[in-house]
């Protein structure tokens, strides 16, 4: 029994990150609404950040800010050698990734606004149908015909 608890204690964070990532993935695949897809992408990104931060954590560690720096904290300096810091490298990577994530979200939302102004809908099926009507060569039949012509040559 204690073996099971050990496994759960060691891995529950990874299970949660997989669950969140798959919720975001499902939203990106199955939802028809474009804003729902962007929300799914946000959840997906945050789940990956959670995975990196969980890898960096150390039990009984402390935040990666050097303890006992400066003269006013002189009483802490004698303990400074015993302090365990968590791994700072993934934190740095994720700090970069969060800001890139908000940039991609902003560009995606701008594209969604342009698509709505053009087609008057956020639904994927409506947009694709309108696009097929506007450009017949975009339709499935024409594309297959083009593939057949290419293969004949």
């Amino acid at each position: 029994m204690s073996g099971v608890i050990d496994i759960v204690y060691a891995e529950y964070n990874y299970w949660i990150y997989v669950t969140l990532m798959m919720i975001g993935f499902y939203a990106m695949i199955a939802k028809k609404n474009l804003i729902k897809k962007v929300i799914g992408a946000n959840i997906f990104q945050t789940a990956i950040f959670l995975f990196y931060v969980s890898l960096a954590d150390i039990t009984d560690g402390t935040a990666p800010i050097i303890v006992g720096h400066g003269a006013e904290h002189a009483e802490h300096v004698e303990h400074a050698a015993d302090v365990i810091y968590t791994n700072p490298v993934p934190h740095c990577l994720i700090l970069t990734a969060i800001v890139v994530a908000v940039s991609t979200t902003a560009v995606a939302l701008a594209l969604i606004i342009r698509i709505y102004n053009e087609y008057g809908s956020l639904d994927e099926d409506v947009i694709l149908a309108a696009r097929r009507e506007l450009q017949p060569e975009f339709s499935e039949h024409a594309r297959q015909k083009g593939v057949a012509e290419v293969s004949e040559q």
Binding site: Y9, Y26, L55, T59, N87, T96, V100
Partner: protein
Amino acid sequence: MKTLALFVVVITGAMLIYAGHDLPAFGDINSPAYQAPMTQYFIEKSLPESGVPNIVTALLASYRGYDTLGETAVIFTAGMAVMLLLRRRET
């Protein structure tokens, strides 16, 4: 479509959880990422080399300065892209 998506999601999730067994335990101090020489070097030497007590800031602005410069350029480019997509022409 929804059933297919659910199928894909469940299979991918099961594979990821199976692969999670090989990762170091949560909070393990002996994990390879923590015991790597570069991590220990950053923790020990970032204060004497860069004079900044916050290791994350020292990494971000000093050791990974190129990366942060590129990232700032990414934010700038995103701002320009949204401006090009949405701003009306001032006539």
